[in-house]
Subunit: 198 residues, 2 copies
């Protein structure tokens, strides 16, 4: 898949060596323990080159995943506005990304993430450190429940992606966004802010 980092591509072999080393480091040691220096050493390049090609450690992780959106740009649009209507804003944003050309990258990412334990670990680490770490402190919910709520939201959104874009099960595959939003936003709203006990 094409890499889009907004920088000049550089030597493709060097870039791929850095990405391969970074994927291994993020999956094996986790985002926090992985270092640009260690990744550079594994790839046999100077750390400055890693920064030059990929920017920050966050940007490098995103490039590793071919992640089609920048969470730090998109998530504030969902979170700003508080808890009221957060379910609807999340589902609407999600559909706008997946229904766009970026959706094809999302399908590829999901396929790759599910192909084995190693790639699943990489996606889990990405969701945890690049999305949930940013989102959880901003939710006005009981701290002890925040991670359960987030993983429930992840379950519905991952399943929506799978059924609508990967399996293409009708009629959800072709339903207009407003039909999907009406049906699924209340689920997300309850997972984020409503009662989790029957």
């Amino acid at each position: 898949m094409a890499r889009r980092t907004g920088r000049r591509p550089g030597n493709p072999d060097t870039r791929e060596a850095i990405l391969a080393a970074a994927r291994e480091a993020f999956a094996e040691r986790g985002f926090d323990a992985a270092s640009i220096r260690g990744i550079a050493t594994s790839a046999g390049v100077d750390p400055a080159l890693v920064h030059h090609y990929f920017g920050t450690k966050e940007q490098l992780f995103r490039a590793c995943m071919d992640f089609p959106i920048d969470p730090s740009t998109v998530l504030p649009q969902v979170l700003d506005g508080g808890m009221d209507g957060i379910g609807e804003r999340l589902v609407r944003m999600f559909l706008s990304v997946w229904d766009s050309p970026a959706g094809a990258a999302g399908v590829a990412l999901m396929r790759s993430a599910l192909s084995n334990e190693w790639t699943a670990r990489l996606l889990r680490e990405f969701v945890t450190t690049q999305m949930l770490r940013y989102v959880l402190p901003k939710l006005s919910v009981e701290p002890g429940e925040a991670r359960l709520r987030a993983s429930l939201v992840a379950s519905q959104m991952a399943g929506l992606a799978m059924v609508r874009y990967v399996l293409k099960l009708e009629p959800l595959a072709s339903a207009p966004p407003d039909v999907v939003i009406s049906a699924i936003a209340p689920t997300i709203q309850r997972y984020v802010a409503g009662p989790l006990q029957a």
Copy 2:
């Protein structure tokens, strides 16, 4: 993966040839248009041998998918009892299968189904003809909404499988069944029987 059909295994090459021909027929032509005779011809064997190894066309399809449960045994447990509590019964049954040793086969099935368009089509055809065709007429819902409701249920259940068993995102990955049931059963109940408009 081991095949469990309750029949003697026969010649492994012949069995594999039949399964390969059946997978192609079910994915290309669909369950209804695929025939045991056509599958036998593609595999270069006598139709009687297909029946001998795999039983009915439904059983052959299930063997193709390595599907870990028999929908015709499990689904009545969810549907009997009517619409009241159907969400809780579905989530409870789902967890009892996926938390059991059969769950590993479920993970393998999901990985394989997502690996490319062809295998996704096979799973979509299986869900549509082996599960929804049985379930939809038994639901007391407006017929025009039944398929949308079913695909919404599929989206939450597929996402639960993905987050709990494939990605293993905590705390949903390790949450006790009753916590998962309390949180997700109301979603399923609404998708099956509640209002879909905000």
